[in-house]
């Protein structure tokens, strides 16, 4: 394959990996606090819709992007209420959130199908953007791509280099120990749920503001689930999440190109590729590590002490 084909493919890989990256980072934050949120898919699509509507009404993509984060937080708060206040089952609550989010976005979004909204365009970084090969791949992307990459070291530093991050990880590992050390465990779990919901919402916004500029039904197309799987693949580490997100982005972009070129492989098989890869990656990750590094108290509610 020559560079004429490869460079656009890699650039597209980064682009289609970015929404997954936001969502994966968000879910890492939530899971590190000990809460399993399987509602990523639902939160993403609500974020996408909120961003789309806001951009259409205000014409301000940055405001729309931020609002998607807030919308993600609001939906994730539902998960917090069920699991942190009422000690509901985290798996069931998360699944319900996905179904709710998809339904809500479908219902509210139907009149918008086919419409466009202002979004983010390409933003070439002066100097770097002019580099051969590397320039078009990495430095001629839109603003949100650069932002998402910036979140990776920030989240890593938050988790590993700050007192809040230390406390949040302790709450996800052993809430009783954290409570005994005087940490308000529920507050940190709320922070994990809401902060995670914010990032997942941003991932949704990328789809409607930068990836397509156009509303269609089922815009997320399973990317939320891929993010849930990627958290395990990434061993709950932000750096590995970046790698995983671009790997999946690459497969997604690759199958689109193959379809465009027109091969003899049926398109439904090509569409399956990212999900097949999800399964393979999960098998590989669990076989290799036996879920090492998973927060020990993941998915376990904090019962009030009597």
């Amino acid at each position: 394959m020559n560079t004429d084909l490869l460079v656009p493919l890699l650039a597209a890989a980064i682009q289609s990996g970015t929404p997954i990256l936001f969502a994966t980072l968000g879910e890492i934050l939530t899971e590190k606090s000990g809460v399993l949120n399987l509602g990523v898919e639902g939160i993403m699509i609500v974020g996408a819709l909120a961003a789309f509507v806001c951009a259409k009404l205000t014409g301000n993509p940055l405001l729309a992007f931020a609002l998607a984060g807030v919308a993600g937080m609001v939906i994730a708060a539902g998960h917090g209420v069920v699991c942190l206040w009422f000690l509901g089952n985290q798996v069931v609550s998360g699944l319900a959130l996905t179904i709710f989010g998809l339904g809500l976005a479908d219902y509210l979004g139907t009149p918008l199908i086919g419409q466009t909204a202002p979004g983010f365009g390409k933003l070439s970084i002066p100097g770097l953007g002019a580099l051969p090969i590397l320039g078009p791949i990495f430095f001629q992307q839109d603003l949100l791509v650069y932002l998402s990459v910036g979140v990776v070291p920030l989240l890593w530093a938050f988790l590993n280099k700050t007192r809040w991050g230390l406390n949040l990880r302790a709450v996800g590992e052993h809430p009783e120990a954290a409570a005994a050390a005087g940490i308000d465990v529920l507050r940190y779990r709320w922070a994990g749920v809401l902060g995670g919901g914010f990032l997942v919402g941003l991932g949704g916004a990328y789809l409607s503001l930068a990836y397509t500029h156009l509303w269609t039904s089922g815009l997320t197309a399973g990317r939320g689930w891929i993010a849930v799987a990627l958290v395990i693949f990434a061993f709950w580490r932000p750096g590995r999440a970046l790698l995983g997100a671009y790997l999946f982005g690459g497969v997604m972009a690759f199958q689109l190109r193959l379809q465009a070129i027109g091969t003899h492989v049926p398109s439904s098989l090509l569409l399956m590729l990212p999900y097949a890869l999800t399964v393979i990656v999960l098998v590989f990750a669990s076989w290799k590590s036996r879920q090492a590094n998973a927060p020990a108290a993941l998915g376990i509610n904090i019962e009030p002490q009597d």
Binding site: T162, R163, R169
Partner: protein, 496 residues
């Protein structure tokens, strides 16, 4: 504030949960430089009192004085602020984090942390109080004794003045316990007030400056340790009646071989040889987690033996568990009474039927009424209280549930009994009863008694085997006083 003002005193503390009065009018004082033991059986109100001191519970009546000043603890934060620190029985450490991270957990300071400076601080403190620990080690890689040191350092780092230890020796080898006592004495000498909660009389007698005894939620004694002259006196205070801590045991002729293990090994066990005959109790001692669990699981058919041979009643492991007879056979009394031994939501009758169906079936049908009558008979015979066969297992106290399990297993007239921590968590009265039942069963069975409680092993066993790191370090007769003196060392891995 005078020099004699207690660091903390409790005045008239009462706490009730519904109709249960867990603490009644408790007044106690904790002074700097003194080690005070709180002694009491399960359910005497020790843990409620400690939760009140740690700020996790609020008393219904009474108050807490810190340095002679009234104070109300609304949260654990308040108690920590007053200088009270607890070392819980189950360590409150995050296994996946380092020693340093654990010590700094919840400690106020700048938002961005500096690991190397933190590590130096921890190392410095550890050196000051001569508690040896690697600040960079992951807690998951530490031994129980080392984990406890981390807990202590955590308290010291917060400048706590009152250190409360909840049954701290339960998980330690005798050597580690000795080291802990040494550390506690040193801390007391440095002006800390130490509170030592236990139900082990020897330890309390050996360590304390003052002893307070709780019985049924009230303080029945609060005195200097030198006013106590014998263990029996203390036990009587604790239980509220005279107790015999010794059981009569006469020697029985060991007969037919019921268990024979040769060269058993797998990923957790190393070259185990073991023999057990009818008429004897073999006490298997060791710190928990040194291979007792896989060994028991192999003997009881839950785990396939790796290398070597396991023969039960003279039959090979495979054929024994393929054609298992319901009676005259193997009985397993697991450590986990409410998990492995019984189904907590099933009635006692249904729990009886779990392992004993013969005699209660007609074709595919269960004869439930007969089973219920049998259960009632067993309840009377084994003194199970309340003797109601339709109660769910979870409604029985630990001691009564254990008697129910023993009754069920003994009903099958076993020839090999594997009893795992049979008296863990039971009070003295229930312990006595369980001991008697086991000794009686020795008539017709060989008993493998797996226990972490050395006193129990010595009271019951005819022979002892010490386990460490998946090996049997040594096996010897219970009369061999020279080897018995070295059990502690063997439990820590030194060769016999």
């Amino acid at each position: 504030m005078t020099a004699d003002t207690p660091l903390i005193s409790l005045e008239g503390i009462s706490k009730a949960f519904g109709a249960v009065r867990a603490n009644q009018d408790i007044s106690l004082a904790f002074r700097a430089g003194r080690i005070k033991s709180l002694l009491g059986e399960n359910g005497a109100g020790k843990s409620t009192l400690m939760s009140i001191l740690a700020g996790r519970l609020q008393p219904d009546q009474g108050h807490i004085l810190v340095d002679g000043q009234h104070q109300v603890f609304r949260s654990t934060q308040d108690a920590i602020g007053a200088g009270i620190g607890m070392v819980y029985q189950h360590f409150m450490l995050v296994e996946a984090m380092t020693v340093t991270e654990n010590i700094f957990l919840g400690y106020p300071g700048p938002l961005v942390i500096d690991p190397s400076r933190m590590e130096n601080q921890v190392a410095e403190l550890a050196a000051q109080v001569s508690l040896n620990i690697d600040p960079r080690a992951r807690v998951a890689d530490l031994s129980m004794g080392e984990k406890q040191r981390v807990e202590i350092l955590k308290l010291l780092f917060r400048q706590n003045r009152i250190l409360i230890f909840d049954e701290p020796t339960a998980v330690l080898t005798p050597q580690e316990s000795e080291q802990l006592f040494e550390a506690l004495r040193q801390l007391a000498a440095q002006g800390k007030a130490i509170v030592f909660i236990s139900h082990k009389l020897d330890e309390v007698m050996a360590l304390s400056d003052e002893i307070a005894v709780l019985h049924k939620g009230a303080v029945v004694a609060d005195m200097d340790a030198d006013q106590i002259h014998s263990k029996a006196e203390l036990a009587q205070l604790m239980v509220g009646r005279e107790v015999i801590l010794q059981v009569e045991r006469d020697h029985l002729e060991a007969r037919q071989r019921v268990l024979n293990i040769a060269g058993l090994g797998d990923d957790a066990l190393k070259d185990i040889d073991l023999e057990l005959r009818q008429g004897e109790i073999l006490g298997l001692v060791g710190v928990a987690g040194n291979g007792q669990k896989p060994l028991v699981e192999t003997i009881c058919g839950l785990k396939r033996p790796g290398r070597g041979t396991v023969r039960l009643m003279g039959q090979d492991w495979g054929s024994f568990f393929q054609r298992r007879r319901w009676d005259g056979n193997l009985a397993y009394i697991p450590e986990d009474r409410q998990g492995l031994a019984t189904c907590r939501n099933l009635s006692l009758t249904d729990n009886l039927l779990l392992t004993t169906r013969r005699g209660f079936t007609v074709g595919p049908w269960l004869r439930h009424r007969q089973a219920e009558a049998k259960m009632e008979e067993l309840a009377a015979q084994f003194n199970i209280n309340p003797p109601n066969p339709s109660l769910a297992a979870r409604q029985l106290s630990g001691g009564n549930l254990q008697k129910m399990v023993i009754a069920r297993e003994f009903f099958r007239r076993p020839r090999l009994i594997v009893a795992e921590q049979p008296t863990q968590g039971l009070d003295i009265a229930a312990t006595e009863e369980v001991w008697r039942l086991l000794l009686k069963a020795r008539d017709r069975a060989g008993i493998l008694l797996v226990t972490g409680d050395l006193a129990e092993a010595l009271a019951l066993s005819d022979r002892l085997a010490v386990m460490f790191d998946g090996r049997i370090v040594d096996t010897f007769a219970a009369e061999d006083s020279e080897k018995i003196g070295r059990i502690g060392l063997m439990m820590a891995g030194s060769s016999p």
